[in-house]
Amino acid sequence: MVALTALRTAVGSPRGAIPAGILVFIVACAVFAPIIAPYAYDIQNLPGSNEAPNAAHWMGTDEFGRDLMSRIIYGARTSLSVAVTAISISVVAGMTLGAMAGYFGGAFDRAVTAVVDLTWSFPEILIALILIAIIGPGLQGTMIAISIAYLAQFTRLTRAQIMALKNETYVEATANLGAGNFHIIFRHLLPNAITPVIVAGMLATGDAIILEATLGFFGLGAQPPTPSWGAMMSSGTAQIFIAPWIIIFPGLAIAITVISINLFGDALIEALDIRNRLRSV
């Protein structure tokens, strides 16, 4: 299908191939963490704390003597799973809401648009912080908070597309052959509207990793000893002058992941030729 062809084009282009390769590597790290990681992420070794990078510990050790590289590899699990799960929930919920609002219009549309525009007017981090204050810190709370923080974006994007698509002749023609509303929405409208939403979701995943790291940095995300890149950076601030690698390596992991996602997203936009459709939000 269109999306698959575009994915192949994006991976094949030089601009997309490198970030795609890096992303595959990071995802592999997350999936195969127990095999790849040289040490367990929670084994403390106080005499060996704050060791600089060396042959035994390629990225050094943290303030409890835990191997930093192992913790970063396991941290990829936390960051990626939280971001991907949250954005997936957000995309599905946003598409459903946006499709209903765009297709049925009326009071339901006005209500959805009002709420969505209200949340859209605040930065995601603020919404996430407020929500975590309500739900309470932890992995689950972070996921829910992030998914709600990005809901507005997908709802708006889907709604705008559905409004344009529902007046297409083929939609009318299907209705004239007796198709019901749900058949029209799920069989004809959403498949035609999905491409830009998928790309927006891909780019939002990069943002969500930063948001998760930020929440982790504030101690609101994954709780110790679960490794999370944000929380690792936070604990590194205390040692920034004596053991700077504790803050540098998780920071690099975040930066490389997010930059790769954004570059790959750009290549995908290019391959799909949808820059104009994304601009509508």
Partner: protein
Amino acid sequence: MALLSVRDVSISIGVIDPVEGVSFDLDKGEILGVVGESGSGKSLTAMSVMGLLPRIGGRLRTGSVVFDGMELNTMSEDGLRRLRGKRIALISQNPMTSLDPIIRIGAQIDQVSTLHLGLNAAAAKARSLDLIAQLRIPEPEQIHRAYPHQLSGGMKQRIVIAMALAADPDLIVADEPTTALDVTIQAQIIQIMVDLVRDRGLALMLITHDMGVVAQACDRVVVLYAGRVAETNTVEAIFADPQHPYTRELIRCIPRHGQAPGSLKGIPGMVPSVMDYPGGCRFHPRCTQAIDICKALLPVLEAKTTGFAACHLSEARVQ
């Protein structure tokens, strides 16, 4: 009792009344041509038959549309939806955009019969392949797998016809089904439709502005002008002895083989806007034979020497 009986239908959209007092009957196995220029109310009449007026903000002001004993005018949207596609199918004007660009041709035809006839995937596919073949498209298997952009306009229109036929409807409403196609393809597709209607004993309401198409396909004709019926008769009679000057002009607009260059004339003037219909007969400003009474009195549809027409002139002639 006819399959479809349209009685004294007047349509309002907001403050305007684009269609007034249109009546006709249509029986199984019959092809009815609804003819007129743009703006004469052809498509609106078709929409009233499909119960689609509310979708464009219109309503039936007076009259009734009875299909197989059911009054469509007062039927719920749910009831109408069950009729659409299954018993009454609409073939729309524009084949280029009537197919979903990202769904395979086959799946689009299949879904009509799965939806209305409850067929399983394999049965629906077999049925679609059969339909594609009946529409004289070569290599049905290959077309079944194709996407709309891989087909030509004429093929797409045939697919749209196949979709309309997929659930075995009793009545097909075709709103200018060949307007977007070139003339040779147009003649072919009209012929295919005529053959299918004859084979299956369907009723076809064929909306067109082309008297040539009418001559090729129809049994009876309703000529609409400015939202009212100008004349109605059988095809043979209307071509042999048109009673209304407008019908005569329409027939004169068909190009003929061996016609002298420059002798093909259109009808001067335009269909008046629905906002300001002229008093009296609505055709009188364009009519070459208009007499005084035409400017003063709206003619009613009445029996003439042959068929029915709404014209003062033929009446004068009959007397």
